[in-house]
Symmetry: C2
Subunit: 311 residues, 2 copies
């Protein structure tokens, strides 16, 4: 599902300016916590943006479609357009979970409302936005985490295989480990700290309540504890510092591998990218550059390229 | 749900020997991988034993009942009894997941076939078997892990809060971490070893297949990788040694806390207790003693005590 590198995004048959403004391109970014949408016309003019709920296509494809519709409606409304206009929109989506062929197939078994619809991983669209198809790597740190990129037309995934057995340094990883360590404090296996107390208090200081909650928890539920952990780490809570250092160590392992694969630079994405950046080892921090564009514009590049490949 | 300590298990109103042989006591041990049953008469004579499938009452109560019936049928058949005889059986069960009031309530909402039925955690029945209600602690290491025990009538749980955020050193923890580390090797984040190769080969060297599998995996599925990890550790595979040392470190944290709570000795239970014992730190190993009786006889003590408390 990786796009051909250096693909020309300008139409091969030039159109007039009014043709270009008739074209509608939608970029979608589907993450475990929220879905975002951005609408541009053929000249690249921003028409509208919107936000919806969780949209991990692997964990819950129905919820992902609902969240996408929600984000689309808001973007269309800002542009003064109706939902029926989706029929002339070329959409591209970067989605957490789109690395799984099985998940993409399940997701695409539902009819879509667009003129064309392309989907790839959130990592691929982030990289398209950041480097426009050139050498470089991205590291997404949100509910999940994923590294992607490389050099000379060879892109690789590093990490990002789901929160159960991968996604080191992600919000879900931080939150789940925070619960584990709070339980240690409850059991008397580790010292109590303000952070462990704050976490246990969320469950009425009842490990039983924690276990009930865990039985229904999704990755985004675990990730909701990440800001609390970061706040306590900033206040020098020993458990908070331990957890954030551990998360940064996991991210550094992903980043180091991407740089070793030949990527000359690294862009951070996701809600936890910037907060965790100062915790990364200095040699990793030195490689970080700002992205040329964001993942939503990367998704627009994806949708636009697919529409131009159509006969 | 903790039994009164030092409870007298002999009937307060003495019965004749034939009365005692008419009584039927069943002990059940419900674990994440299998369910075991043992039938004794009132004099303690062994009448039969049986085995059934997975029976974690928290993760799948319906499956747990099916597995229990299976184990009971086998034990009854060995005793030359029919399923209808369950109506005169006093049953006690130790079950993984019975620490959750909500899980026990869901489980007990189904009708049971016994004259009386008592349930407590697998940790409590293991401890009843090992120390007969006296000072001491047990550490179960199977699909999950759990520590329990204490001194002077005060028993505490340490660990055992489910494989998602607890159960350090368990088969599920070992298996899940083995998958994580195999993915590291696949990504090039860690050296490849015979163990990482063996794990990746189980999924056709496709991380996508691993993620699909993980999406449906239960704790017992993860635990099935533990023997492979142990075998490779014995052959000095660096990843195997790392994983088993990490598991032993987690178990040592639970054991140390139990001993610090005043338990004078520790008994190991569960299929991974003995294999992991040589990996534990020497000061923990020194505290380990053989149990007076096993968890099934502990479950019989539980069922018998409950039947004697009835009017």
């Amino acid at each position: 599902m990786v796009l051909v590198l250096n693909q020309r995004y300008v139409p091969s048959c030039p159109k007039t300016s009014s043709d270009m403004s008739d074209l509608l391109f939608l970029g979608l970014d589907g993450g475990g916590t929220k879905c975002r949408a951005r609408l541009r016309d053929g000249r690249g003019i921003l028409l509208g943006e919107g936000t919806g709920g969780p949209s991990n296509i692997r964990l819950d494809p129905d919820l992902a479609w609902t969240s996408m519709r929600e984000a689309c409606r808001e973007a269309l409304a800002q542009a003064g357009l109706a939902e029926s206009d989706l029929a002339r929109v070329h959409a591209g989506m970067g989605a957490a979970g789109a690395g799984q062929t099985s998940a993409v197939e399940r997701f695409l078994s539902r009819p879509h409302p667009f003129a064309s619809f392309s989907i790839d991983t959130d990592a691929h669209t982030a990289w398209l936005g950041a480097f426009g198809g050139g050498d470089g790597a991205i590291l997404i740190v949100g509910t999940g985490s994923c590294g992607y990129g490389g050099a000379a037309g060879q892109c690789h995934y590093v990490g990002g295989w789901g929160y159960e057995i991968s996604d080191e340094g992600s919000g879900a990883a931080i939150g789940r480990e925070a619960l584990r360590r709070a339980i240690w404090a409850h059991d008397g296996r580790a010292p109590s700290t303000p952070l462990s107390q704050a976490i246990l208090a969320e469950f009425g200081n009842e490990p039983e309540a924690t276990v009930d909650w865990v039985g229904k928890a999704r990755s985004s539920d675990y990730a909701r504890f990440a800001p609390l952990v970061l706040q306590h780490a900033e206040r020098r809570d020993p458990l908070g510092i331990d957890l954030v250092s551990w998360a940064a160590h996991g991210l550094a392992g992903i980043a180091a591998r991407l740089l070793d694969l030949g990527a000359p630079a690294l862009c951070l994405f996701g809600g936890l990218g910037e907060p965790l950046r100062p915790w990364l080892p200095p040699p990793i921090q030195k490689a970080i550059v700002p992205p040329a564009a964001d993942a939503l514009d990367g998704a627009i590049i994806l949708g636009r390229a697919a529409s131009e490949r159509r006969p």
